[in-house]
Amino acid sequence: MPRWGMVIDLDRCIGCQACTQACTQENNIPFGNFEQSKLRRSISWIQVIPMGEERDSVEQTMTPLLCQHCDSPPCTRVCPVSATYKNNEGIVAQIYPRCIGCRYCANACPYTVKYFNWFAPEWPEEMEQAHNPDVSVRPVGVIEKCTFCHHRLIIAREKARAEGRTLEEGDYNPACAESCPTKAITFGDLDNPSSDVSRAANDSRAYQLMGDLGTKPKVRYLRAIE
């Protein structure tokens, strides 16, 4: 059984936000409006945020922040209806039709990467034609977040089966990893020692975001210490 994970090389990230854009297109993320963005209600499953000691300085590290797909997720434990859970391949998933919208998971998440549908999602009419048919549109009142483009895994696996082979390295990649112009995002099976991602995860620059909280994130970051 694979254990899907991601390594993001911050030394390569140029903060272009192509990942954010690709993710929005791929996952039918509602088109935000200015009013709601000002209220900090816009949804972006991956967003590039500047982190570092000094605010508003070029010294800051551009950090693509997405669901960390923790091996010990604080969010799944607190969900009263098991609408969020970790599947057996390590992906932290969300069942939209079951979620009651209590937002407890969003509060329990130390990374603040869970998003709530404050209103029913809206797109300009022209954009509605461009929805990705593989991803369901979320209704009002439920939590959503990064799924590691789980629908792509299902498609990749079916394709491999049809071709009579097993799933191989590179068959399944989330939209963000695919779109990164500097190849800062590596994705794959962390349990396969020969995969690119597990080699990158063992890089001397690797660290986990707030790894001291014991959440065991499967997203790792690479950054050289100067």
């Binding site: 098991s82 969003a106 130390p110 404050w118």
Partner: protein, 453 residues
Amino acid sequence: MDTNAVTHEFDDSRLLEPLQTTSREFKVAVTVLLAVVGWAAFSWVWQVSHGLGVTGLNRSVFWGIYITNFVFFIGVSHAGTLISAILRMTNAEWRRPITRMAEVITVAVLFFGIANVFFDLGRPDRILSIALHPNFTSPLIWDICSVTLYLMGSTFYLFIPLIPDIFLLKDRIGGWRGRLYRFIVRILRWDDSERQRLKLERIITIAALIILPIAVSVHTVVSWVFAMTVQPMWHSSIFGPFFVVGAIFSGIGALLTAMILFRKFLGLEKYLLPIHFKQLSSLLVVMSVLWLYFTVNEYMTTFYGNEPREMSVFAAKFSGHFAYMFWGMIVTCFVIPFSLLFRKKNRTIPRIFIASISVNIGMWLERYTIVVPSLSHTRLPYPIGVYSPSWVELSLMAGCFAGFALLYMFFSKVFPIVSIWEMKEGLESSVSIITKRFMSYFGISVQETKDRS
């Protein structure tokens, strides 16, 4: 030995009056309160049809005054059952005119505590998911279990001591209430015999014994909803006992406010005497000191530990965005009640009224400064959440308070708000029981008092 007191006749006329007549003020109050509740109902429909976006909530402040109200109301519910159970179990004789009022608060306010969680749901239509797919590792499920148990227990605990009064009233009040009383009496086959009374009192004692740990567990579990997460200034082991102490504190505050209002508007001066207020307000002073002790414990350890994430929440409360609320809480929870009621001779009813209102406000502020600041200052530097409640949230909050007042007033029209049989029983037998107990401390057995009662 002079035990003349036993011959005093208990006059229950004023207690029956609210059931027999309805004043103009009462009708006006009901109309106003109904209007507020109606407005809240409209706000709720508005929220359901538009989504939770009509609140002031956002990312990262996912919880606001709905959850504040939930914690506050569950806290106030400790007025009743817990205080009444403690007073019964410690044989505090002055409890008699107070217990029923207290128990009604518990039952009535619990509905609004539960309602606020419901308001907070993004998908109230999926409420059944909780029964269909419960996840028992979630503190919210623990909460639902303990609050449901508490509601059932405290309803039972309210109902049992009502039975002898229902028996008393069944021939004195007509109409639908008379039919209701006679129905209850018939169902229970109640004949108010001495044997039944003895059994009743034993059941009350056992119920009090069972309800105490449930009440403590309820507010502990409510605190665990926060404490079980790793969020800064939520993840604290002091939360359980702190919430319980705060709950009893705000419960006494609410009870005193209710007692003073009922005394004034139902003319209960003959039953609720200054001595009752003095006794209960001295408990309020003790609780306010205990509350300060817990607060100092919580904030001192955070401050001394100096952990950056905790400190950002601490600073926001102490001197930042939430400073008004934080210091307002210190003033209303400690400075005002303590300075007003610290000296025994100062414990007059107007002062007690101000102190009790102040404690209610203060405990609401405390709940708010627990829920919101931690969510505004998450572990990551972004986003920093700013929250102010919208008109929908404020309307629903007003509706809850109005609804609670209505339920309470409705109860006072159906059942006597002071337990008549317990007052009678107290007058008839307490003196001999206390004399007997007192003499037994000196090894003297008193036999003759028995035939007097």
